[in-house]
């Protein structure tokens, strides 16, 4: 931990890359990507996917690293301060408050989901599910979540205790600081995550046809489901938007977390190679490993038609219902061990992301209010622990989904658009370009200057308008909400508005008591 008055720094470059990659690699890499690819044209989906990786993912990654390291020069580890130094306007810091709102709101529900993966890894090891059907496994999950009751789970206590353990782990790591906490976690969790994923992928590929009575249910057909291209899909604009959305989510862009990590770099330390390395590490986890586990094994066990239904049921259905059925099947020898590895790798993917979501608020309290790390982490922990109670107890009423839509989906693209405009247009493209390339181990190819200035903001604007029309308006008007859920959805909105107001007032207070923007 840094001495009082000093800002912490990363211990090693590889530790930093693993930490930012850990932030990006999440549950979506292993659950969301294969579903998206299979549903949106198979191999043909990779054409828009790679195009948006080039035009949206990599440019935004460098922009966020650039804004973060620039803000760090002025002792700002969170978006309000960073935006304030980019744009000399009273409003800038309030735009940055959106970054704090997004990271803390996602942290509230994400840590709870993360605790499920920890719980299921333990359940796997003890063989608590075996020879389950889709009905019984759905019942197992919903009783664990306290939605229904079963012989295994008669109350919410197991889920609650696991949530407390997950919370304690997260905040203990945050308390330890950047180098001794977050970096050390990344150096342990990320190699283990890759090891487990590689072992699982090899095991699944080796499965071939698990039940000879159904020869068409095999792993090769699972790969075919993801990779055989359907070129007619490329004429559908929804496929292109799905690819842009996937790139956006998978790299954890628009959350304020990459900025926070980059703020602990020295002013002349490389960000170009580090940014590219984290993006490519994430793609390795997503396309190569994520694409080789869940969907191929689902096709091998359930067949193509059932897997299509599972995919339409969403990522949770695939991860927490279908995968346990497979690991608990007689056709999967040592399923307990592989199930344990599957859920533990999801837990590692989750915890490396959730500590990143906590860091912007901790940095904000430290940098703008002069709190020590212990006080900052304790303040965040109390706030998050209070808010998560609503998520746990109102889960079945769509409380989590409402928060996930506004903070974890729509809010991200709004924040990314704001930061791109501020950095490339208000701060100035030439200054931004110089800032990003400063100290670079490699230089950014010149054509990215034009992509960052013109193409990336236009894609973000199109995404934002599209999502606004397609989903934000119907969600806001509660068009698809069940009548019994409406009061709880409004409860989620009131909670989010409260969080936003508290953050705005804290930003206002911080700027009224401090002299800001002194260079380190």
């Amino acid at each position: 931990m840094a001495k009082k008055g000093e800002r912490e720094q990363w211990g090693t470059k590889i530790g930093l890359i693993l930490a930012v990659a850990g932030n990006a690699v999440g549950l979506g890499n292993f659950l969301r990507f294969p579903v998206q690819a299979a549903e949106n044209g198979g191999g043909a989906f990779m054409i828009p996917y790679f195009i948006f990786f080039l035009l949206l993912g990599i440019p935004l990654m460098w922009i966020e690293w650039g804004i973060g390291r620039h803000g760090g020069k002025f002792r700002h580890g969170s978006a309000p301060g960073m935006f304030d130094v980019l744009w000399k306007n009273k409003l800038a810091k309030y735009f940055g408050a959106l970054g704090l709102f997004i990271s803390i709101t996602i942290l509230i529900y994400y840590t709870y989901i993360e605790s499920w993966t920890l719980g299921f890894s333990v359940f796997s090891l003890f063989g608590m599910y075996s020879n389950e059907t889709r009905e019984t496994m759905t019942g197992f999950l919903s009783s664990y979540q306290g939605i229904t009751k079963s012989e295994t789970f008669t109350s919410l206590w197991p889920a609650y205790i696991l949530m407390i353990i997950t919370f304690a782990l997260n905040f203990a790591i945050l308390y330890k600081g950047i180098s001794k906490g977050i970096e050390r976690l990344a150096k342990i969790a990320m190699p283990l995550l890759f090891l487990f994923a590689i072992i699982l992928a090899i095991r699944i590929i080796a499965l071939g046809t698990p039940d000879p009575a159904f020869p068409e249910n095999n792993v090769a057909n699972g790969f075919a489901f993801i990779w055989n291209p359907d070129f007619t899909a490329l004429g559908n604009p929804n496929i292109w938007l799905a690819a842009a959305g996937q790139i956006f989510f998978t790299l954890s862009l628009g959350m304020g977390t990459i900025h926070a990590y980059a703020s602990y770099l020295k002013p002349d330390e490389d960000i170009v190679l580090s940014g590219l390395s984290t993006a490519s590490t994430n793609e390795f986890a997503e396309v190569i490993l994520g694409g080789s586990i869940a969907i191929p094994v689902a096709v091998a066990f359930f067949g193509l038609d059932a897997t299509k239904q599972i995919a339409q049921g969403g990522a949770f259905n695939l991860g927490f219902v279908s995968m346990p059925i497979i690991f608990g099947s007689n056709h999967f020898p040592l399923g307990e061990v592989f199930g344990f590895m599957w859920f533990l790798l999801l837990f590692f993917a989750g915890i490396t992301s959730s500590v990143a979501m906590g860091q912007p608020v901790v940095a904000f309290l430290e940098d703008e209010f002069g709190m020590d790390r212990k006080k900052a982490v304790t303040t965040l922990a109390i706030g998050v622990l209070a808010a998560v109670q609503f998520v746990i107890f109102f889960l079945k009423f769509g409380f989590l989904d409402e928060m996930d839509y506004w903070a974890g989906t729509f809010g991200l693209v709004v924040f990314a658009l704001i930061e791109t405009i501020l950095f490339m247009w208000v701060f100035g493209a030439d200054k931004a370009w110089k800032e990003m390339n400063n100290g670079g181990d490699i230089q950014i190819p010149r054509f990215f200057y034009y992509i960052m200035k013109y193409v990336t903001p236009v894609i973000l604007l199109i995404l934002m308008i599209w999502w606004f029309v397609q989903s934000a308006v119907p969600t806001l008007l509660l068009e698809n909400a069940k009548p019994e859920n409406v009061p709880y959805i409004w409860g989620a909105r009131i909670l989010m508005i409260t969080i936003a107001v508290v953050i705005i007032l804290m930003v206002k207070r911080a700027w009224s008591i401090n002299n800001h923007n002194k260079v380190m």
Partner: protein
């Protein structure tokens, strides 16, 4: 069904691009770190 020729091409291309990028990045990172 099985993987078609175009499926194998797409899988190989996607994996190839990503593996090349990861190898390039980490080769550079470790080489530069060693020099330092």
């Amino acid at each position: 069904m099985g993987l078609t020729t175009s499926g194998i091409i797409f899988l190989s291309l996607a994996w190839g691009i990503i593996l090349s990028l990861v190898t390039y990045c980490f080769y550079k990172v470790f080489r530069i770190e060693q020099k330092k």
